[in-house]
Amino acid sequence: MKHLFKFFTIRRDKVVMEIYLPVAGMPVNVFVIAGLGAMVGVLSGLFGVGGGFLLTPLLMFVGIPPAVAAASDTNQIVAASASGALAHKRLGNVDMKLGAFFLIGGIFGGTLGAQLVKVLRGMGNYDLTMKLIYVVMLTLVGGFMFIEGLQALKGKKAAKKEGAKPSAFKRFVAKLPLQTEFKVAGIRTSALFVVGLGFIVGTLAALLGVGGGFITMPAMIYLLGMPTIVAIGTDLFQIVFTTMNVTIQQAITNHSVDIVLAILLFCGSTIGAQIGARLSRRFKGEQLRVLLAVIVLAVMVKIVFELVATPGALIQFSSGGGGH
């Protein structure tokens, strides 16, 4: 218990709350980390997104090694999604059958993803791979939200293109083997497609430290035609187990999970989410969506800048943190 009170260290005549991260092996400012968590929490409360895809890059910006940032963010997502998943389960919003198929892919993908992180770190190019994937992903997510938000602001109700466009894809999925009835979701689709989707989301969870809601949600709602509430419940259900698996895999394979960092982030994000949920009732959804899109695109631009700008030093440590 004693060390809990050592958080308050008085240095240079001002109170700075520094906490030493046991796995990252570095001290961080509690306010900076919890503040980042809170910021992303506010966004997730406002927009109803998970926010993992913003948290990992932000942690990297403040100097947390990329591998530790991704793995600890995954650990934080376990905490952030647990109670929501329980609540949705109680309300009957989780399609357990679909969730189970999703998890088969998710567990496999997450385990493979953690191994991929190890191989890439060994080659010294995990940071690069991760940043490149982030650029692609944030561009797609941010770009889509920006356009959709602008259209909504202009008053054009996002024209119902969905009915026509994915039909070719739907026909393709309908041809896949293992067509299965999912009762709670009220759909009939190929279990293979669900497993495959889980696999992609699981791999990304390990590589990037995200829950993957930005892929799962559109896929479930637009491609599979699930009711939004069941999509949310089932997504949260799979996120809890996928991120639990990824956390354990990262701990074993890469020694990159920092519990202290994860708890700090979670404390920030949970308070932020409360604030965000309250704020969201006062603002117009479309304005908020454009704002989030701008934030996402700004983070993307910063990563692109990091990739192309000449580094301060050509020789760098390549341990990438963890493994003390």
């Binding site: 050592k6 046991p22 999604s81």
Partner: protein, 275 residues
């Protein structure tokens, strides 16, 4: 754990101090004391200070060195490949201490160059550089780089250490009066764990080392940092399960707390948060 280890550590330090003190006195009496002689890396650790005090023959210049154990580090060299910076070369550097600090009572220029060389305290760290061995892996085989290629990595590593205040040279940083000296070692937050050796040299008016002594600074992780750090490194499965368990319990408890807060304080019945 700590109390069990303490007698051994104390005995070892005691024996060393006795031996070194005897040697020191033989070389005409230098003494060195560290306060504290132990750095604990706990949850609140953010670097620190160690007072170095002691005796030297009157009228001599004082040089203090703090050298941590050697550490093997992996380095990567970045290069631009199709517009993007990426790792183009990976090496391992061994033989160099992860911390090397020098404090002098006067100007470095006042210390004869042969003494500087002997003690390895020149501001280019050339003595430390010569200890370095740079290797590269070539399909299971470890190859030692020749001096020319190695130099880039060694210089790069020293630059990284300097940036983190792990390699420093501070002139006019030791106060000397009447045969007593005092200095303050600045301990950076990422000080390597293990035993840091702190040495004091007295340089007489003839420009030669007339006395020396040394003491050990124990740097170790304690409390939560030690428990979690050790567990993450050596008991990864248990650590992973702990991380998941802590997250689940914290997540559910805090969500319950906010639900209670909403009911009790804000008198709200149903607020959807997050998804």
């Amino acid at each position: 754990m700590r109390t069990m280890l303490k007698p051994f550590a104390l005995a070892a330090v005691f024996a060393l101090v006795l031996g070194l003190a005897a040697a020191g006195f033989a070389a005409s009496g230098a003494e060195i004391t560290l306060t504290p002689d132990r750095i604990e890396i706990g949850t609140g650790f953010n670097g620190g200070e160690v007072k170095v005090t002691g005796k030297v023959p009157e009228g001599s210049q004082v040089i203090i060195q703090a050298i941590s154990p050697e550490k093997r580090v992996a380095l990567s060299k970045k290069g631009k490949v199709s517009g993007v910076w990426m790792t183009v070369e990976k090496t391992q550097v061994s033989g160099m201490p992860a911390m090397f600090k020098v404090y002098t009572s006067g100007k470095m220029a006042d210390i004869p160059t042969d003494v500087q060389k002997e003690l390895g305290i020149d501001s280019d760290f050339s003595a430390v550089k010569s200890l370095a061995e740079v290797t590269e892996k070539h399909e299971e085989k470890t190859v030692t780089l020749d001096k020319e290629r190695a130099e880039e990595f060694v210089n790069g590593l020293i630059a990284l250490y300097r940036e983190r205040n792990l390699y420093t040279v501070d002139e006019n940083a030791v106060q000397v009066a009447g045969g007593r000296f005092a200095a303050t070692l600045q301990i950076p937050a990422d000080i390597p764990r293990g035993q840091t050796k702190v040495l004091v040299y007295a340089v007489g008016s003839d420009g030669s080392v007339v006395a020396s002594s040394s003491a050990l600074l124990n740097v170790e992780a304690v409390g939560l940092v030690r428990t979690l750090g050790d567990m993450a490194a050596h008991n990864a499965v248990a650590y992973g399960i702990l991380a998941v368990g802590v997250a689940l319990v914290t997540g559910i408890l805090i969500a319950q707390f906010f639900k209670w807060l909403q009911k009790a304080v804000f008198k709200e019945e149903h607020v959807e948060v997050g998804h």
